[in-house]
């Protein structure tokens, strides 16, 4: 194998699994250390800069970081990254003075954001401090989009939404709330320099089953019903409720039903429990509230009597192999019927653009969705950009934020005569954490604690009111203990081959058998004959240049604890623990040339 090019920012970025997995590439270990140091405001700002909504995401994020966490591979459960973010938000105090200053002068360019959801708000936040005049349009009276309409209050209190939306509104965008845009053609005539479409995926999918028309009064589309609850248009539901669908919206629907008078609430899904789209923890939370999840039942018909819904008939399903592919088909057993008073359909969401005229000059694909560049988020009308669910269908808030950042970079480049395809490289730095012979600027003593549970409000109280936040969140002590579980994967093991005397000290001390000195070879073969076989091919091998004995140092990054013992036991400083910091470039960051990247050598 060739020796590893650690100058490529991707190499060490990949080692920080959580940051690599995060669509917005939030420097997770960095803020977790700040939480452990009780520097909550600083931790909040690291988040705010990167993901814009730490308080909101700390309660609602889909957490792509957690399954990626190295702790899963060395122990069992990931660090509770998401809920630690909430600790930072809950304890931050006043951060107004830490927010970037408002633009001293306007640059004369006008941007319109259609929709006031997370993607649009991110675009606004990135562009407003640069001097752009940003107009935000939304049909609702307040900003927030789906954050405000679809996420139930018991998971996300309104005060948290207000605070983080206000952090953006303080940069004084021109808000046109309560204004629905019905025609892109007319809208473009207003002459904005650039338009960002962040209208989400606002249409809940409908099943259109027999009996639905007759019993329509008690059959609701999940996201519409949730938004009616959020706006307090709806405040009760029947005693017996069936929720159809297995995604996170279904989980929100059933748990909301429990709080609005539903006593016998069931979730019924077409496929198996394991194939459900809902995150594992959301399923757990629902079941914890006494909601059974029944699987392999495909809804067939709504039954009704005198125009009133009486229940739903289901066909039993199972998986069969069909030419190597798994297919869900009826088992042939008799249908089953479940009685209920109300049905909530949460079987998916769709984008819909009835307000974009198809002759406006924008190209649509075969699914009748606008053609959007996945890197620049530019549509085929050069000054119209898309982001969030509106761009590539329903995802999660953190994706919308990531889209918003990228679209803002594109808009900034586009309006300054730059090439939107020339993306600015991330800003990175490497700095030794060595403070003494065996002292480091991070806590390298690995915590053996298991993941701490987030304290909850007792179910009897939580189920009384839809506005009572069910999770209490970690207090500062629990937050500290959970933060200590972080393995500091951003403190990198950096190897300097010229200093190595091949004494084996690092090999002997490494608790995870990550390090091997051996003859070089081809990757698949080399992976087999390391100190411990490196079977996780998604994780790189760190290969040194050839050493004086003709061997190489090969380090399997897979389960490294970043405990720094290799560096502590190294007599020559060939190993050093260096803090790697990567921040993706946001709008307005001048592209940095690789030569300006800081890389400090280890002290001898």
């Amino acid at each position: 194998m060739k020796s590893t090019d650690i100058g490529n920012p991707d190499y060490f970025h990949k080692v920080v699994d959580c940051q690599w997995a995060c669509p917005a590439h939030t420097p997770v270990p960095e803020y977790i250390r700040l939480i452990a140091a009780q520097r909550y405001a600083d931790a909040y700002m690291v988040n705010w800069k990167s993901n814009v909504f730490p308080g909101i995401l700390g309660r609602t994020c889909d957490r792509p970081c957690e399954p990626a966490c190295r702790r899963v591979r060395v122990e069992d459960e990931p660090v509770a990254i998401c809920r630690l973010k909430r600790v930072a938000a809950d304890n931050k105090g006043d951060v107004e003075h830490m927010l970037p200053p408002k633009a001293a002068a306007k640059n004369g360019k006008r941007i319109a954001c259609i929709g006031a959801g997370p993607a649009s708000l991110t675009v606004a936040r990135d562009l407003l401090p640069l001097g752009y005049e940003v107009h935000i349009f939304d049909a609702e009276k307040k900003g927030g989009g789906m954050i405000r309409t679809q996420i139930p209050r018991f998971r996300l209190p309104e005060s948290v939404i207000d605070e983080e939306v206000d952090f953006i509104l303080r940069y004084e965008p021109v808000t046109h709330f309560g204004t629905r845009i019905d025609s892109l053609k007319e809208f473009l005539a207003q002459g904005f320099d650039a338009v960002f479409v962040g209208t989400g995926a606002p249409r809940g999918r409908d099943l259109n089953l027999p009996g639905q028309k007759e019993a329509a009064a008690n059959i609701h589309i999940g996201i519409d019903w949730l938004s009616n609850v959020s706006f307090e248009h709806t405040d009760k539901i029947g005693k017996r409720v069936i929720v159809l669908g297995g995604g996170n919206t279904a989980m929100d629907c059933c748990r909301t039903s429990r709080r609005l008078g539903g006593e016998d609430v069931k979730v019924i899904v077409r496929s198996g429990f394991d194939e459900m789209k809902a995150s594992a923890w959301e399923k757990e939370d629902a079941m914890h509230e006494g909601i059974p999840i029944l699987n392999f039942l495909s809804p067939k018909e709504f039954t009704h009597e005198n125009g009133k819904l009486t229940g739903v008939t289901f066909t039993k399903m199972h998986w069969v192999e069909d030419g190597g592919r798994k297919k869900l088909v009826p088992t042939g057993e008799p249908d089953v019927h479940y009685e209920c008073d109300d049905v909530l359909m949460a079987v998916g969401q769709e984008n819909s653009f009835p307000w974009i005229e198809r002759d406006v000059g924008m190209e649509f694909d075969k699914w009748d969705m606008p053609v959007v560049d996945p890197v620049t988020f530019q549509s085929t009308i050069p000054n119209v950009f898309f982001g969030g669910d509106a761009a590539f269908g329903p995802k999660n808030i953190i994706w919308a934020v990531a889209h918003g950042h990228d679209a803002a970079v594109s808009i900034d480049l586009f309006l300054n005569g730059g090439d939107v395809l020339q993306r600015p490289p991330p800003g990175t730095s490497m700095m030794s954490t060595k403070m003494g012979i065996h002292e480091w600027a991070y806590d390298n003593d690995v915590s053996l604690d298991l993941r701490y549970k987030v304290p909850l409000v007792e179910p009897e109280i939580a189920l009384r009111n839809v506005k009572i936040e069910v999770e209490k969140g970690y207090d500062q002590l629990l937050g500290y203990k959970e933060a200590q579980r972080c393995l500091n994967c951003d403190v990198q093991t950096v190897f300097a081959a010229p200093l190595c005397i091949e004494c084996d000290a690092c090999v002997d001390i490494c608790p995870m058998d990550c390090i091997t000195f051996t003859e070089n070879g081809e990757e698949t073969e080399l992976r087999q004959r390391l100190q411990a076989p490196a079977l996780n091919v998604t994780q790189d091998l760190y290969i040194s240049e050839t050493l004086p004995t003709g061997r190489i140092m090969a380090k399997d990054e897979d389960v490294c604890l970043h405990c720094g013992l290799c560096a502590e036991r190294c007599p020559t400083g060939a190993w050093d623990m260096q803090h790697f910091y990567l921040e993706i470039s946001h709008a307005g960051c001048a592209p940095k040339s690789p030569a300006t990247r800081k890389r400090e050598p280890a002290p001898a």
Partner: protein, 351 residues
Amino acid sequence: MTYIAKPSLHHPSLEKNALGFTRRDYEGRISTLCAGCGHDSISASIVQACFEIDLAPHRLAKFSGIGCSSKTPDYFVSPAHGFNAVHGRMPSVLTGANIAAKDLIYLGVSGDGDTASIGLGQFAHAVRRGVNMTYVVENNGVYGLTKGQFSATSDRGSKAKKGAENKDSPIDLVMLALQLGATYVGRSFSGDKTQLVPLIKGALSHKGTAILDVLSPCVAFNNHVGSTKSFDYIREHNDAVNRMDVISPRAPIRADYAPGELKEVVQHDGSILRLRKVADDYDSTDRNAALGYLARKAAEGEIVTGLLFVDPDAHDLHDGMNTVDTPLNKLTDADLVPPVSALEKINASLR
């Protein structure tokens, strides 16, 4: 030295031996020696060897004297018995323990000072008596704890860190052990675990006195240009006579080497030492030839390593003394105190 404990987390694929232990179960406390010390590699090799021969930790008894090397029994096989003796007196304490409890596996760990200087007499007599033990000398040619004076194994002409040259003749512990009748003699290098681990495994399963002289560079005081015990010097002058695999009595025997290049030695406990020759003219079962070969190579400035001599039919101290099979410390009053009738019998015989 390191303050934090080595995390107990381990690689998910870590293997278990026949006793259900992982290699990590044979570790000890974290070393307080200098970072990069060769002794730590030897400790790691002992850990590996004990793991591989499925040694029950409570059957091991560790002994040491004074010095950097003699601190190391704390850093491997924590559940084993242990005794840290007075400077140079470890062989006698070990001998005493061995007399009393012959059913344990004895491992003495010492250094060049503890063995070749203050403890030379003790060393010589333990070897001469054939005490059943593995005696590892962690040999760095320097007094590390007192900041790097030449030790008795330091080669003539070797340079100290500040440039002073050693004028005295060295004691070659391997030659000495051969002359004194040790029945398993090897030399190795802390930086070559593939050679060292099998040598330790073979020694632990050897019945008789096994002496391992392990060159172990002192990174703080004896790893510079001009030293004959530095990593670089040993690597350049390492003359391995053979490579060894130790095959446990339980393992199926597979012959996958060409005939002639292999020599198999069956030890008392049934374990097989499979020697792959590197030097053509070397026979590991010929004591006199070994002495001659070592003397010749020493004159050429080469460091001969490998299994230098083994006598598979060795006798140990207990054989010589004709002790009972039961360890002496397990004998009860009923075994040891003769009844009155026995006294009468003796008295009668003298009347």
